[in-house]
Amino acid sequence: MIEAEASTSSKAGVLRIANLVVQAGRGQDMTAPVTDVSLDVCRGEAFGIVGESGSGKSLTLRAVIDLLPEGLRRSGGSIAVRLDEGADWVSDVATLRGRGISMIFQEPMTALNPTMRVGDIVTVGARAHRGLSRTQAHDLAVELLAEVRLPDPEAQVRKWPHQLSGGQRQRVMIAMALATDPKLLLCDEPTTALDVEVQDQILQLLDRIRRDRHLAVIFVTHDLGVIRRLCERIAVMYAGQVVEQGTVRDVFAAPTHPYTAGLLASMPTLDSDPAHPLTAIPGGQPDPRERRGGCRFADRCEHDQPDCHTMTYALGPVRGHASLSACRRADELTGALS
């Protein structure tokens, strides 16, 4: 707690999410894929949101720039962004899309317009928002493509997306995100579609850009390896809620929620003993329609007690730990989890 709080208060906040709720459908069919997400991200910080598919991690990220898929809406909670230190918090986040907040998507194949040249793709946002001339746009494109370390940027500007490899396309997407000079960069599984070696280069690039530009970056991923390498603090999501939050160091070394512990234990590693079965978590994540009251992980949890199935959600401190946990038994369990 001490460490996490100290770093939060000493740095200026960029993003504040409180009690976010995202709903789908209406009336009888209404479900809430995201229900309890609260988090703060500071200037220059790398923040990770980790969870399995369906945990609501991508929806949370999309809610931040008001880009939820059709049929979904933010129905509760607040999101506020402050791009400059000392400025006012802005809660109408849609106005900041492309003017201070940018997003990088998972699939570089489909996220780039195939009918535009790379130079135009990179600067289309900047031209719309900053009214650049063609020459200015061209110079900016070359500059950005050099920043994302594409070889011979002058030549790349004239290329079409299909002439680029997956890694190069992802670099173009990053250049495009940087064109509007953002303060907050949202990355949705930025390297999942890429090969191991390329993955590594892109992660290093993103880390360098974050440091150089003092950017706040949020990484959403299911890949614990990516989180471990890039992030300072993380939130672990399960079934639409944040179940644990803390520094990467604390959460990975001493998880305070049984789900986090299970996730870490079920990951095959190079030095685990192949003769021993992996510790799988039985069952699956509950569908938003089939969630019952109480802790949403209780049905899969080996430490559950009757009260767990009726408790109300609260993310709170754990004795002897700096992380926040949604597990009501966290105080007594932490020894058994790590």
């Binding site: 590594d200 992660l203 471990r228 996730l263 095959p268 030095d271």
Partner: protein, 276 residues
């Protein structure tokens, strides 16, 4: 288990996509794309060979050739010392079965689990009448699925359940060799572990011979008796997982090893950002 007799072998396999076919191949200036370049592999009975490599390295092409779904440019596939023809008879097709990456698109969305398995057993004449139900129950138990999924269509199943149905479908025809092509990579970590455990158990209990294809070294190591690392159509390194991982020789293998998670790193990690 047994370990000495070779169950599956491929010799000098070459697959070229897009180039000209036939006698004028040597005369053309369009070489096509060489997806697999003289690859030979051997899997002893009851063992699992892990084939690791990045996308486009040719690993799935090898799987398709073994399963008879892709015609090789040259080279032979042998099962129990018998050359498998390029065009497979129904009986030959049964011998090699595949589990695919994406369990949501690999199953017929209009058939229930029961219909999927019944159709298969009937087509291959493996069970009729009441024996069908018994065999289906047996298959579900084998892959750790409850009987409740029998009358459910794939849409209503979770990813892990779908992949188990995919495995049950492959096992239904009693294959000699099972090919798992990125069979767990689309699954969540916690679910992936359960499916891996299932494959591990099947390997032990049924003496299954398996080709396990993956881009993930840690996953492959967990299930494989030997590992072959592939890059740009060639096998660049092979051996037991321990040897390959503890002392990787090829730069590509080293990159793979460096990018794979280790438990000791996770427990004692630092916050200084990218640490390669």
């Amino acid at each position: 288990m047994t370990g000495d007799t070779t169950r599956l072998s491929i010799d000098d396999l070459v697959v070229r996509y897009g180039g000209p076919d036939g006698w004028w191949r040597g005369l053309s200036r369009k070489p096509g794309f060489l997806a697999v370049d003289e690859v030979s592999l051997r899997i002893p009975a009851g063992q699992t060979l892990g084939l690791v490599g990045g996308s486009g390295c040719g690993k799935s092409t090898i799987a398709k050739v073994i399963a008879g779904l892709q015609k090789p440019t040259s080279g032979v596939v042998q099962l129990d010392d018998r050359v498998l023809p390029e065009r497979r008879s129904k009986a030959d097709a049964r011998l090699v079965q595949m589990v695919f990456q994406d369990p949501s698109s690999a199953l017929n969305p209009r058939l229930t689990v029961r219909q999927t398995l019944t159709e298969l057993l009937r087509t291959h004449g493996l069970a009729t009448g009441t024996a069908t139900a018994r065999r289906i129950a047996e298959l579900l138990e084998l892959v750790g699925l409850s009987q409740r999924v029998l009358d459910v269509r794939p849409r209503r199943l979770s990813g892990g359940q779908r992949q188990r149905v995919g495995i049950a479908r492959a096992l239904a025809v009693e294959p000699s060799v099972l090919i798992a092509d990125e069979a767990v990579s689309a699954l969540d970590v916690s679910v992936q572990a359960a499916v891996l455990n299932t494959l591990q158990r099947l390997k032990r209990d049924l003496g299954l011979t398996m080709l396990f294809i993956s881009h993930d070294l840690a996953v492959t190591r967990y299930i494989s008796d030997s590992v072959a690392v592939m890059q740009a159509g060639r096998i660049v390194e092979r051996g037991t997982p321990e040897v390959v991982l503890s002392n990787p020789q090829h730069p590509y293998t080293r990159a793979l090893v460096a990018a794979s998670p280790r438990h000791d790193q996770i427990a004692s990690l630092s916050n200084e950002g990218v640490n390669t």
